[in-house]
Amino acid sequence: MSDSIIGAGAIGSGPKRIDGQRKVTGAAPYAADHHPDNVAYGYGVFSTIASGTVAGLDLDAARQSPGVIDIFHHEHFPELHRSPSSMAQGNKVEETRLPFEDNKVYYEGQFVALVVADTFENARAAARKVGVNYKSDQAIANLDQGVTAHGTQKGQGNHERGDAAGNFDGAAHSIDVTYTTPVETHNPMEMHASVASWEGDRLTIFESSQGVVQQQGALAKIFGIPPEHIRVESPFIGSGFGAKLWMWPHAVAASAAAREIGRPVQLVVPRQQMFTTTGHRPETCQRMRLATDENGKLVSLRHESINTTSFTDQYVETCGSVTKSLYSCPNLTVSHETTQVNRGTPTSMRAPGAAPGLFALESAIDEMALEAGVDPLEFRMNNYAERDESLDLDFSSNHIREATERAAEKFGWHDRNPDVGSMRDGHEIIGYGMAACNWEALKRECEARVSLRADGTAYVTCATQDIGTGTYTIIAQTVSDLTGLPIEKITVRLGDTSYPKGPISGGSWTTATTLPAVAAATRKAIEELKGYATSGKGDFADAASDSLTFENGQLTHDGQSVDYVDVLKGQKLASADGHAHTQGADSQYSYRSFGAHFVEVRWDPGISNLRVSRVVSAIDVGRVINSMTARNQVEGAIVMGLGMAHFEATEYDARNGRPVNNNYAEYVVPVHADQPPEVDVILLDYPDLEFNEFGARGIGEIGITGMAAAVANAVYHATGKRIRDLPIFKEKLMENIPAVQSA
């Protein structure tokens, strides 16, 4: 790796991050690091029931607490408006109800009051003195209770082709199994935070946001002011994994409080409420019915999913999104339904739909293969789709067979003894499992601005965000590639609505969306530069603009070269600028990313110790823009996938709907010691030039898809026990284990 990568080598190389120094020195500013002059601090009071109403508030003690400026609640809060919540309009929110809108409580951990005081300590102390009297109703605590109480509502993303039911009965081999996944919580390291300041009717808000433009639009609707009067800044965010795509109630509360008290307000959502009022991946129940002919070829596939949603909004976890197109099957049904429970509104969490959906699908494929008597790898090879049968389109680029084969080879799948519990090493039983992974490749509209400046630097702006994925760096690589400027000379500024409109950092579409816009803006800046050079005052006054070439910072015509800096300086110009607006993807092809995970688990039956000891994954995401940050994305997604497989579940008390483990110690996420000793990621790196000029499809999400199934399949191979209910707690492997009973 090199610090100074210049020119055409920049794309695809692995320069270290341009924002890295700020991250390792503590200088990168995150939302709550901002302390504007005269800032006041908010601290929330959150409901301790999951369903009911606030019957009364006792505020006397809190009001007398030192430093208290104001206490907001449903009887003391400015009248605001709801956002229409349209992504196309640029104002999407997931929870449409405003904080303090009325006295109703829909979930535990909902804002019921907000104390604002002169210091954080005083706000926290006073918040704890607020008394709340509730009238509690019976809560709907989980999916089963929701379905029993009031059934389901139809969701979107459904698909039907052929006759799945008719081809199931009488098929040579079939399975009918149900998988369940729990509520998972994003738990980004940085808690949601807003720092809001008003000057007249203009709002500036520092927010931990994956989508500053959407938040700007939503706040404009909610406060009834022009979007231009709102500036949302999020230059650094302590990750989000989807939790920070859409604004949550705290940002409205902080903004309104700041306006009411006439002072900036900082409000941080406590970790406990990161489980309640800022979204989560909902609970799912997925029935899988698969059937094959005698040769193990799929003839019928049904994936029917129900997920929990809130009483205020419908959120659909599209578990069958991948099922529609990953395997070839003429008779297929995908359906999504929701049921309302007393939890906050769910939201997208890394690979929404696909992460829980591929747990079910790829576990079911394993079960189906075994039922049909076919090796799971061979079964997949026999059934992978050659084209997208749901859209009736060719894939733009699909190397899933090569990915599967290369990962299998490196992993040593072909040395696997298929018999359950047959591979042993001392006390441990070894299991091998595999699963495919898959994610849609998306590309959105985007604007960007690039200035080639007379001081020899370039300056790039775009109102997208770098959420830890490396967007700052790959944008600099792109400009370097086109201009020949060293990366060190390129300044990139993101996460600010005063820049040209950029996309939310989600859906794995940031790379494919922003790079074409940045490239187009760079080319426009170069065109402007050529225009200056060929103008009356220019160095090539008589030449046609399109006869000039631009390489490594030099404009050349007829063998004569001039540094672009001299062109600008010669005419006393600050910069040559380009502003571009690029469009989303067309629908000529089905654009998707592919891959496969291979997992080795080691299970010690004596103490039921289960660990993942080895992972080999091969990922086909088109061209890799930065080999170091791309690999990091997949490795991190594998870790999160292991969390999903082994540990992660937000648990709710079935009696009252209250979350019982909403903290970082009891909602267990992987730590250093859980990291498998061997994780090997193969990046195939086939440019998908049908998708965009760089051939990149995006890489943030695909790595988590399929991981939980690969682990579950390996656990089955080791133990003979099929776990269809995530997570695979060790407790679930303590009894009725075929591998032990047969030993």
Partner: protein, 225 residues
């Protein structure tokens, strides 16, 4: 808005030593010990010309108000006299009063490690520690590790190995790594480092790269000593 004058609050100025922000400059002064209890005259003049939101070295010389206690903290070599309430937590005092925001709050209940810093060379979770219990202590935060662009070997190794994604847990990871690498009781093998670092969650899951960085820094620190 005055907060914007902190300069580096809205984007990335990469490798750009020409315009160090005032905030960062003050931090680096603290780190190098140039700014002792009293800032030099030129710095005071510069401060006076800046917006009120500029960080100043809080020095509560007056008697503490009712319910407050006066403490002295030496942070990154700079001594601060502060009047604090008994419920003020060390992390919040550093972040809100001293504007040393490099130390992060990830859970506020000692479960994630993002707020790790060194007190008298021992790594602690600063969110679990009351400020009044640190009267007279020497505290090192992430801002105190580097001297301008001259990074501590652990910082350099984290950058080199991409040992982060979002960067939010990074300060805590680095401070724990510094403590571990200086602790003879912790083995140098990968499993020992993983175990010792397990109090620092990285939700982005950059564990593989963090381990590589810590082990690389071990070599760099040996080379330096």
């Amino acid at each position: 808005m005055s907060d914007h004058h902190k300069g580096d609050g809205s984007g990335v100025e990469t490798f750009d030593a020409r315009s160090p922000s005032r905030r960062r400059f003050l931090k680096s002064m603290g780190a190098s010990g140039l700014a002792a209890a009293t800032a030099p005259a030129w710095a005071q003049i510069a401060q006076a010309g800046q917006s009120q939101a500029e960080p100043v070295e809080p020095r509560d010389d007056g008697a503490p108000a009712e319910g407050e206690q006066q403490i002295r903290l030496t942070v990154n070599g700079v001594e601060h006299t502060l009047n604090v309430t008994p419920n003020a937590v060390l992390l919040d005092v550093l972040r809100d009063r001293l504007e040393l925001t490099g130390t992060k709050k990830g859970c506020d209940q000692g479960q994630c490690g993002a707020c790790t810093l060194l007190v008298n060379d021992t790594a602690i979770n600063s969110c679990l520690s009351l400020a009044v219990s640190h009267d007279g202590d020497e505290i090192t935060t992430i801002e105190g590790l580097s001297n301008g662009d001259d990074l501590h070997p652990v910082q350099a190794a984290f950058w080199e190995h991409d040992a982060y994604q979002c960067g939010y847990c990074t300060s805590g990871q680095i401070m724990s790594a510094v403590a571990i690498l200086n602790d003879d009781n912790i083995g140098s093998d990968d499993a020992s480092v993983r175990e010792a670092m397990s109090g620092n969650i990285c939700r982005c899951g950059a564990y593989k790269n963090i381990l590589a960085a810590v082990q690389d820094a071990r070599g760099r620190m040996k080379g330096a000593s």
